[in-house]
């Protein structure tokens, strides 16, 4: 089974647009794009993603909080989640992993390589 459906949560529209291009055009993935943690929680169950990509720092509900709530939702609890963040110091990465994320993609990312990165993360899950 290969990766097809990805829920992508990011408030920054510029980054959202590049990632969409990278994941849809290069990676041929089907995306559900949400601009906030709240929106993600509303739409995630219906979309039934195989993987969740979460920006860490968002106004309102941030990435870690969004993930925590998803973990309480039985339909979403076991879907692998990946944080995307510009803060990749080890202590921070460690904290994200402890929250239950399976990996962290550092920002800035290279748009040409994003889809591959996401797919390879998924492949080892």
């Amino acid at each position: 089974m290969s990766l097809e459906r990805v829920l992508y949560v990011e408030d920054d529209k510029s980054i959202q647009a590049v990632a969409q291009l990278a994941l849809e055009t290069v990676g041929n993935l089907k995306l559900c794009i949400c601009s906030s943690g709240e929106e993600a929680l509303q739409r995630a169950v219906d979309f039934a993603p195989q993987l969740i990509l979460l920006d860490v720092m968002m106004p309102g509900m941030d990435g870690p909080e969004t993930l925590r709530r998803m973990r309480n939702e039985p339909a979403l609890a076991s879907i692998p989640a990946v944080f995307m963040t510009a803060r990749t110091q080890q202590s921070e990465v460690q904290a994200y992993l402890e929250l239950g994320a399976v990996d962290v993609i550092p920002k800035p990312f290279d748009p040409m390589q994003l889809a591959d990165r996401v797919k390879s993360i998924w492949a080892v899950q």
Binding site: T85, T88, P108, D110, M112, Q113, A115
Partner: protein
């Protein structure tokens, strides 16, 4: 991605970048206003205003996380420094004092980098030169320029058996147009065109800058003289074969020349207490498609090594409370990391001290300050060398495939994964038929070539996710995840058909070789059986293929019934 997709992608990306530039201009404008507000509050003795600082920090953070994606890596790096400084200001209530001067410096550096990026050259990475996405299933495209149609056809057919996508051109003019429009991954060309005075090297030379970068070039010729070799070397030729060409041997060379054969990103760990500098280095390496991590606390070093598994460590020589030399020694105390290359980053220019440090076992030195270009080039070279060395340890030296113990280990991993993911896994044992006769009749050198040819064929024909190992002398093993036995049979039978069509050269003329294979899969053995059952099943099936006349692929039997093909 297909070519026009790629062009479309680049165009869309450029469009997004335009929008992004407008946005950062606005944000930097806002940042200036916020900075002025903060400054006047600080001057009036009211202390740093937390809300304003918080806003500034959010903007800096966003820039740090996004600029590189749009090709403004240097600006992103500056924004990251700014973000860290603002963090520091926020963590110490009261007058930030001199720290605020640093914040202002960083802010103007961000502006400066943006100006520089906008004024001069187009962005370096990734927009101008989009790093090619790693295509794991990619078939190598090879152009053959050969005016003798017989030689050309033979090259075409045999290279196609190996799984290359080959275009044959019998006229240099036709080749020129096609090659310039869509440069292939490698070019094989005749040095002497019969009907013209033109030579292959002369023709390549005449293309000049219009073919840049030049794909790897392999020349073929009926001559073998010093002058021709010199010309080939002069135009940067990477291989030279005399006609009649020993194609399997040439393929072995070709495999090594194809750049995307080793696409796993190099992994570099940067151990440096100077966090902004370390992050700057990290950004530079990431810009080059490498995976880089920084570590400022040496206490975390071993944990970091285990988690990140770098190819190379860059280690600051002096850190508060720690010596890089001692840390290197500590790393070497671990059996697992004994061969991990460590390069010191240091301002140390005293040659004697450098030598003393290298005695401990670090590879060498990079002296700070170092230019970005120099840094990137140095790290790349060292990481590649490290990877090659590591590959040597893991791979069978002749075929480049995994060694016996490692392919078995891979099977264990894949078996566990298949069970977890509930996907089928196939295991294949392949053996070259009558190999002893090949060796006896044509000599061991030729026998080795036959082995390499099969290795290359497997590499070309199997998926990237498949694992291939040299199990013994002329015996190979393939582990094919997410592949049921019927699919595996299709793939391996294709390999069998192509292999029997490859002509091998010897002093007694051309000859052909066949192979037999046996396949077992997780769907054919009991769930609780270990990997040994898979291997045993494949071995049994191979034995059956051999005893029933060779040159065939058999499936293992399931509980006594025979689904064999």
């Amino acid at each position: 991605m297909a070519e026009n997709d790629e062009a479309q992608f680049a165009a869309k990306l450029a469009q997004l970048r335009e929008g992004y530039i407008q946005r950062i201009r606005d944000e930097l404008e806002q940042m200036n206003t916020l900075e002025k507000q903060a400054r006047s509050r600080i001057r009036s003795g009211a202390g740093a205003p937390e809300a304003v600082l918080g806003e500034m920090r959010v903007i800096a953070h966003r820039l740090a996380g996004s600029a590189g994606t749009f090709g403004f890596s240097a600006m992103g790096g500056r924004a990251r420094v700014l973000e860290n400084q603002l963090d520091q200001v926020l963590s110490q209530p009261g007058d930030p004092g001199a720290l605020w001067t640093e914040v202002r410096k960083s802010l103007s550096a961000v502006h400066e980098e943006l100006r520089r990026d906008m004024a001069g050259a187009p962005p370096k990475t990734p927009l101008a030169e989009p790093a090619r996405a790693v295509d794991t299933q990619r078939v190598a495209r090879v152009a053959v320029v050969e005016d003798d149609p017989h030689v050309g056809e033979e090259l075409l057919l045999t290279l196609e058996h190996f799984g290359f996508d080959v275009s044959l051109y019998t006229k240099p003019e036709a080749a020129q147009k096609a090659i310039l429009t869509r440069p292939p991954d490698a070019i094989i060309l005749d040095q002497h065109f019969d009907n013209t005075a033109q030579t292959g090297t002369g023709w390549i030379d005449s293309l000049g800058e219009s073919l840049s970068p030049r794909p790897p070039l392999i020349f073929i010729s009926s001559e073998l003289d010093f002058d021709t070799l010199y010309q080939v070397a002069e135009v940067g030729g990477r291989g030279y074969y005399r006609k009649p060409v020993d194609i399997p041997q040439m393929v072995t060379r070709l495999e090594k020349l194809l750049p995307f054969r080793d696409q796993q990103a190099f992994r570099v760990l940067i151990v440096d207490d100077d966090q902004p500098l370390a992050e700057h280095f990290q950004l530079l390496l990431k810009g080059q498609g490498m995976a880089a991590e920084t570590l400022s606390d040496p206490q975390q070093l071993l944990e970091s090594l285990h988690r990140f598994r770098p190819d190379l460590v860059l280690m600051d020589l002096y850190m508060p409370g720690y010596s890089g030399v001692t840390l290197a020694r500590l790393v070497r105390l671990q059996e697992e990391w004994r061969t991990l290359p460590i390069v010191y980053l240091s301002a140390e220019t005293d040659l004697d001290r450098q030598l003393e440090a290298m005695d401990i076992g670090a590879e060498d030195f990079l002296t700070k300050p170092i230019s970005d270009a120099h840094f990137v080039a140095s790290v790349k070279v060292r990481a590649r060398r490290a990877r090659e060395l590591n590959d040597l340890l893991r791979q069978d030296s002749m075929t480049g495939l995994l060694k016996h113990a490692l392919i078995k280990e891979e099977m264990g991993h894949e078996r566990m994964r298949a069970r977890r993911e509930k996907t089928p896994l196939s295991v294949v044992m392949l053996d070259i038929d009558h190999f002893k006769t090949v060796n006896d009749r044509y000599g061991h050198g030729t026998g080795d070539l036959v082995i390499c040819a099969l290795a290359n064929l497997l590499r070309q024909r199997l998926r990237r996710t498949d694992r291939i190992g040299r199990y013994g002398g002329e015996e190979f093993m393939a582990v094919m995840p997410n592949c049921d036995p019927r699919q595996a049979w299709e793939v391996i039978d294709q390999v069998r058909q192509h292999f029997q069509a490859i002509p091998f050269a010897s002093d007694q003329g051309e000859f052909f070789v066949t192979l037999s294979a046996g396949i077992c899969a997780t769907t054919l053995v009991a769930e609780e059986d270990k990997g040994d059952a898979l291997l045993g099943g494949a071995d049994q099936a191979l034995y059956q293929a051999k005893s029933e006349g060779r040159n065939q692929v058999r499936l293992a039997e399931q509980g006594g019934t025979s689904p064999a093909a």
